[in-house]
Symmetry: C2
Amino acid sequence: MLDGNGGIVVKLRAMNTVLPNLIVNNVQSPGGSAAGSSPTFSPLYQQIKALITQSLQSGEWKPGELIPSEVELALRFKVSQGTVRKAIDELAADNLVVRRQGKGTFVATHHEERAQFRFLRLIPDEGVAGYPENKIVEVKRLRAPAEVARLLDIKSADSVIFIQRIQYFSGLATILEEIWLPGVLFKGLTAERLIEYKGPMYGLFESEFGTRMIRAAEKIRAVSADTVVSALLQISLNTALLSVERVSYTYGDKPVELRRGLYVTERHHYKNELN
Amino acid sequence: MLDGNGGIVVKLRAMNTVLPNLIVNNVQSPGGSAAGSSPTFSPLYQQIKALITQSLQSGEWKPGELIPSEVELALRFKVSQGTVRKAIDELAADNLVVRRQGKGTFVATHHEERAQFRFLRLIPDEGVAGYPENKIVEVKRLRAPAEVARLLDIKSADSVIFIQRIQYFSGLATILEEIWLPGVLFKGLTAERLIEYKGPMYGLFESEFGTRMIRAAEKIRAVSADTVVSALLQISLNTALLSVERVSYTYGDKPVELRRGLYVTERHHYKNELN
DNA sequence: AAGTGGTCTAGACCACTTT
DNA sequence: AAGTGGTCTAGACCACTTC
């Protein structure tokens, strides 16, 4: 059955008992346009990527930690270093890990300068971006409103945590934000924890609650400030504001945060790069 | 002087006269921490990428056309196919080319379904996105205002083309847009050309004026509709609108378009993915 | 059957960091 | 000196498209 000298060896290796869950490349009998070309095919490096992602999700390697070297992973998965390399390339492109030449590959974390502005796109028109002051207005638990439950993919009966906060840039109230989190994932989250914690909220979620946000989708609109909002942000009634609705996802494309921000854009703007 | 058997051969090849402009890896004499580690170093695949980009920019291969195969390019540049492959991988990630398995690699073009919504991020809240109707309000030539000249990196004395248009989604005025273009690059651009041309404006720019937009940076704010704007968009005075200021760039990070859009976000939203 | 991009391997050497 | 990721090569085979 040996029809090559390189590729087939790999397939046999991948088929052995060390990693029975690896799906192997389709080896179709020649000439057979056999019925149903298997739809479950996936390249080896994608399978390796999925396995590494599982280890990230399970916490085998925690945010900020060093993961095994490419050589080690290649031995572990019984594939070549090049295949592991391609898997890690994609994980790095997805911002799940960070490569550092000479040192190794690290699990990405929200506790880093470079990660700070990935989810905070409001930039001062002039000067450099600073991290805002944070004022927690309210924290409470309640049953999920229908719309919140729908977007978080939970039941309406389930408990959610609601947070309202104001962020100040250079002392000026600039962002009014309302956040909904699934209660089951953020059990010990209280106003005290939020107030005492300095640094980005996603850092807190990652370190204290084991939930890491890896991507988000935003819907942006322009709205007018009503009386409640204008009082909280200390602006005139009917001031035009950016409304930013965000759904954040963790591993497995699972939605774990719903957020609505109202941004004052007198001296700031939302920055977006189209590539 | 032969201290290896693989790598050094490549370097010698790269050093030959076929491509004198290729910068070769630093080959430092062993033991010599020689003064001034050359700061102009760049990996081979980056040099290949730059060479291919030059050919794209010069029009050797035009938008929509097939570029030479990886094997051909490898022969032409006297490097391995793998190195060409990595260069093209990055060009594909930058949306400068599109790979199609079994067919080849094509120069990206704005005349494609998939490219339509790369620069148009306003999405209907419900239903599927359709391409808007276009109404040209005004086209004129004038000397560049100071701010426009600054952003387009031209002189204030230089001529620019100003376009004002309204876009209708499902018959409703939704986007009021003002566009400034460097006069020298868009000589024959008239209201007639714009009106008769069906399809995306960037397609027209690419096909008729040889200027291809490859990326853009946007600044988004919320503003209130004044009397002029509310009349043009047929909305109430002081309606909150999205203001989207865009600078678009062509090859070599050269700014070639300035655009300001005012978006009605009653039934639409600006969609953004944070990765 | 031939040609294209896509995957996978194996091995060499380079650049950078730490010991 | 040893270990890490980064670059480059060479060759095999696979998947897809076209002739």
